[in-house]
């Protein structure tokens, strides 16, 4: 019985931790990139591994977020639509808008 009780408490504790992490990441992404006037702002964001970056399109035209290496890509984001991606591994991720490819920027994951 004692060992069963311990396991149950441990399970409860770990699920509490899990919920807490989820709430924290939803409430406060590591970085938000704003799309304004055909630019990603800021053009470079640095985040820790495991962090989520959110993009919000404030323009009157649709934009996309597409990794140069193909590792992530959004659907077309209409005005005020958003996209998020969680970066598991460290690295430098260059991305662009596939509709307006002059729009280039990057995420640095440490």
């Amino acid at each position: 019985m004692p060992s069963f009780r311990f396991a149950a408490i441990a399970a409860m504790a770990s699920s509490l931790v899990f919920i807490a992490v989820n709430v924290a990441s939803a409430a406060a992404p590591a970085a938000t990139v704003s799309i304004d006037n055909f630019m990603f702002t800021p053009m470079t964001v640095a985040v820790p591994a495991g962090a989520t970056v959110i993009w919000v399109n404030h323009d009157d035209v649709p934009h996309t977020v597409r990794a140069v290496d193909g590792s992530f890509h959004s659907q077309a984001l209409d005005t005020d639509e958003r996209y998020s991606f969680t970066f598991a591994k460290p690295g430098v991720y260059s991305y662009y808008c596939s509709v307006h490819p002059k729009m280039v920027a990057k995420v640095i994951v440490k």
């Binding site: 055909f38 035209v61 649709p62 659907q75 077309a76 260059s94 509709v99 490819p101 002059k102 280039v104």
Partner: protein, 312 residues
């Protein structure tokens, strides 16, 4: 005619092209840029042309902002204008951005409206038409029957060779419009069958000349396409994308960008502006939207290309 004096190459090209049905394409052969004229003058022209066609562009069905709350309304006005033309056009060329977001409902609305013209419509996609999960599959399924590759094609009409190019797919980071090697190889084969006296009309979405690269208003590998077109005595390139009339002549090649039927954009590189919709007062909107009539005319005809706004 003084333009041709002292320029034998142009004169030869000119005379060669004149063999085409005894007429020519004034705007390319004259080596100059034709002036746009008002609607009243256009209506007064005689029906003396072998044929004409219309370019319509950037209808952006689904676009809805306060200064143009429903792009279907202005598109319908543009189509009605075409239906009223004194010279009935043989067909319509739509140079892309039919829709705002590549949605089926937007394509459905656009089709319903342009059907009111009663004319055949030839399409090329704009970047707004290839935003579906299939990167343009929805557009190709709808408009691309009988086309090659990712949707490019050509056809002949009354001795003129028309070529539809696609430059909105597989765009590369930091780049502009892109034709790609597969399409360029096809273009080479396609043009090989035609003598240099054949008038050629090329239509595509993004400009084929570097109109304003900082805003992506150009096509990275257009030089390769233009090299293939250079031997022709008369080449007319029609595109949309920048929502305003801009013209340029380079040798025998004339470039024309067209107005939108939905919203205007700023002039190239306008300070503090970006290449997106430019809000205008409601009473000015129709003066910056329009369609284009292109006539294949006798050589002294002064009005081969006529841009008409939706105002008046």
């Amino acid at each position: 005619m003084s333009k041709f004096d002292g320029d034998d190459a142009d004169r030869r090209g000119f005379l060669k092209c004149m063999t085409w049905a005894g007429t020519g394409l004034v705007w390319t052969l004259a080596g100059g840029v034709p002036a746009s004229i008002g609607l009243e003058a256009a209506a007064a022209t005689q029906r003396t042309t072998p044929f004409s066609f219309v370019q319509i562009s950037d209808s952006h069905i689904g676009f809805a902002k306060p200064f143009n709350p429903d792009a279907r309304v202005t598109y319908r006005e543009a189509v009605a204008k075409i239906a009223r033309m004194a010279n009935k056009p043989d067909f319509i060329i739509h140079t892309g951005d039919v829709s705002q977001l590549s949605k089926d409902s937007q394509f459905d609305d656009a089709d319903q409206i342009i059907k009111e013209s009663g004319l055949t419509v030839f399409h090329v996609p704009g970047e707004h038409d290839v935003l579906d999960e299939g990167n343009g599959k929805a557009f190709l399924d709808r408009y691309g029957k009988g086309t090659k590759g990712a949707g490019w094609y050509s056809f002949n009409h009354a001795g003129v060779h028309f070529v539809a190019l696609i430059n909105v797919l597989n765009l590369k980071a930091g780049g502009m419009g892109d034709l790609g090697p597969e399409q360029l190889a096809w273009l080479k084969d396609d043009l090989a069958a035609y003598g240099s006296s054949t008038p050629v009309v090329v239509f595509t979405h993004i400009p084929l000349w570097a109109l304003y690269p900082d805003w992506g208003w150009g096509t990275d590998d257009a030089g390769q396409a233009l090299a293939l077109l250079r031997r022709f005595g008369s080449v007319t390139v029609l595109n949309g994308h920048i929502h305003q009339v801009q013209q340029k002549v380079e040798g025998h090649v004339s470039f024309y960008t067209a107005r939108s039927t939905a919203f205007p954009q700023p002039s190239p590189g306008a300070p503090g502006q970006s290449p997106g919709p430019m809000a205008v007062p409601a009473d000015k909107l129709r003066s910056v939207l329009g369609v284009r009539e292109i006539s294949f005319v006798a050589r002294n005809h002064p009005l081969p290309v006529v841009d008409q706004t939706l105002a008046g």
